[in-house]
Symmetry: C2
Subunit: 334 residues, 2 copies
């Protein structure tokens, strides 16, 4: 019998359709050989002139801007979806609303080494990426035109990555994205009713149940959500109540680096390096300290085609049972 499960935050129902079930093994995707000519990769050390001038970098003392010597480098996106210059110029056209596409669109080059994926790095290397995301968030939110800062990573062409070299992206937006608004709305409603943070309650239940848990350490848990839209969807949550990503403590960042590495390793070893998207959901800039909201990291592997049905309705059919995918991931040998 298929199940209908409801996401407690968004109120979104999904079908867990065991009738069409695939076993986790069926999702393995053969890895493609890299065909990139490194001399043409704009994110390679030595090729710094192929990108716009760097915004920020972590680099060895004595080395120069836009030259080798860096281990993390942040540059403007060469094809930005939004432009940094100009006024918002909000206006109406009859009943419609619009504004100028003002915003920032940056690329975080995560390593000078073309083939060093985030999950292959030492934990300290991942921590550097986490710090770079934080530093850019703190800098970008000084600009009062922005309402939200979005950090995301597309891994693999099927996940939308047009450049192979490991990188993530940061967008500063003059609006709060709909999904975040909906999460804020849903979790606020829960808080008003229960006087507790729904994310704190979810963490408690997931740690007790253990069925959907994938990794746990001192500071964080990673688990398959109760009502995931996609097979092998994952969520990483801080155990402590923190709504704003930039307020993670120093030791928190090392715990996050560890759980992120172990979680992504389970995914990539278990499914042979599947394409995935990773996204931070954090509090909007106008109120960073929310008692009803937790920042979290959402990881969605791209294993199945999403039919128009899903887009048009917001109603997803997931052919795997979350408890089974979690068990499969827990059994992967690291």
């Amino acid at each position: 019998m298929p199940e209908l499960r409801k996401d407690p935050i968004l109120g979104r129902w999904v079908i867990i359709s065991t009738e069409r079930a695939l076993r986790p093994m069926d999702y393995k995707i053969a890895k493609e050989e890299s065909k990139t000519d490194l001399s043409k990769c704009p994110f390679e050390a030595g090729n710094e002139k192929m990108t716009p001038p760097e915004i920020m970098s972590y680099r060895s003392p004595g080395t120069k801007k836009d030259e080798p010597g860096w281990w993390i480098r942040v540059v403007p996106n060469k094809f930005p979806a939004l432009r940094i210059e100009g006024e918002l110029d909000k206006r109406g056209i009859g009943l419609y609303d619009m504004m100028n596409g003002v915003g920032a669109h940056e690329v975080v080059v995560e390593t000078p080494n073309h083939n060093e994926e985030i999950y292959d790095m030492p934990e300290k290397g991942i921590e550097e990426i986490l710090w770079a995301w934080r530093d850019r968030m703190i800098d970008l939110r000084k600009d009062k035109r922005f309402k939200y800062i979005l950090v995301f990573k597309n891994k693999g062409p099927q996940a939308g990555a047009s450049i192979e070299h490991p990188h993530s992206q940061i967008m500063a937006l003059p609006i709060v994205p709909l999904r975040v608004t909906q999460e804020l709305g849903g979790s606020k409603q829960y808080f008003e009713y229960k006087d507790r943070c729904i994310f704190c309650d979810i963490i408690k239940q997931e740690i007790e149940d253990r069925e959907r848990l994938v990794e746990e350490n001192e500071g964080f848990v990673s688990f398959v959500p109760f009502a995931p839209r996609f097979p092998f969807e994952l969520c990483i949550l801080p155990k402590e109540h923190i709504s704003d990503y930039t307020q993670i403590t120093r030791s928190g960042f090392s715990h996050l680096a560890q759980i992120l590495k172990r979680t992504l390793q389970r995914l990539t070893k278990g499914l042979e390096e599947p394409p995935f998207n990773l996204m931070i959901h954090t509090a909007p800039l106008d109120d960073l300290n929310l008692n009803y909201y937790h920042f979290h990291i959402e990881i969605t592997p791209r294993l199945t085609e999403v039919a128009g049905f899903e887009w048009a309705t917001g109603f997803y059919i997931n052919p795997t049972k979350p408890e089974e995918t979690a068990a499969y991931l827990r059994e992967v040998k690291l």
Copy 2:
């Protein structure tokens, strides 16, 4: 300069990113030759035994159930996402909610002719499909376990169609899908504020502006929405205020058949038969006559990859200007 535009019903912002703009011509997708062995197609006349027994058909007098002689045939989906048998059995697991996946999942075979796409049919043939959708809706809503009936069509494998033979699908659901709930919420809010239906206001403005209009006849308009998520997204709305699809008048169905044919022809001739999804958004079963909601048909061609960014945020980047795609479609010769 990119633009940010807001969907007036959902409150969803999209980026219209002219910097990455493609011209409409760039979206043309080469048509693939059919490789289906017709003797193995379960929807071919003569192959009726390859499907579960028919639920309903429009057929010539004197011909028998599950034999040739039909021009429309409705059968249960052989791999249903939901099951018709059983109780809903709503239950909680800690803070989570779930229920059994009870529902109906049917296939409407739109023609006995393998290569007769909906837009190639005479208007009368399309009208028969529209009537079949209505007949099934009316029958399925007698079952009080259901809250919503979803009619949709996937055309082409990239749009999720696993069988080539022209068909659409009907699902009866024990819940209202999230997107519909959100549309109901947004349009209700507008009604409470303005005492007018937002869809009626949109129709009025689109007919006056003409910029985004694609087709118009006595009963319906088709246009590119002001803030579409995808290139060449289209919306068909009845001019008269009707919230429930089944309450279209007899002449209304012939107008709808005409505008649907002409709109899809513009799309398929203009872009060389692109894959697309078509979906009816209509009132939920618990209140069919809503003063704030219009039923409508949403058509989304599958021309671009949707990156995880879009999924994770509900924030879309559309590389085409709606006014330009509408102008392109208007110029297609029928």
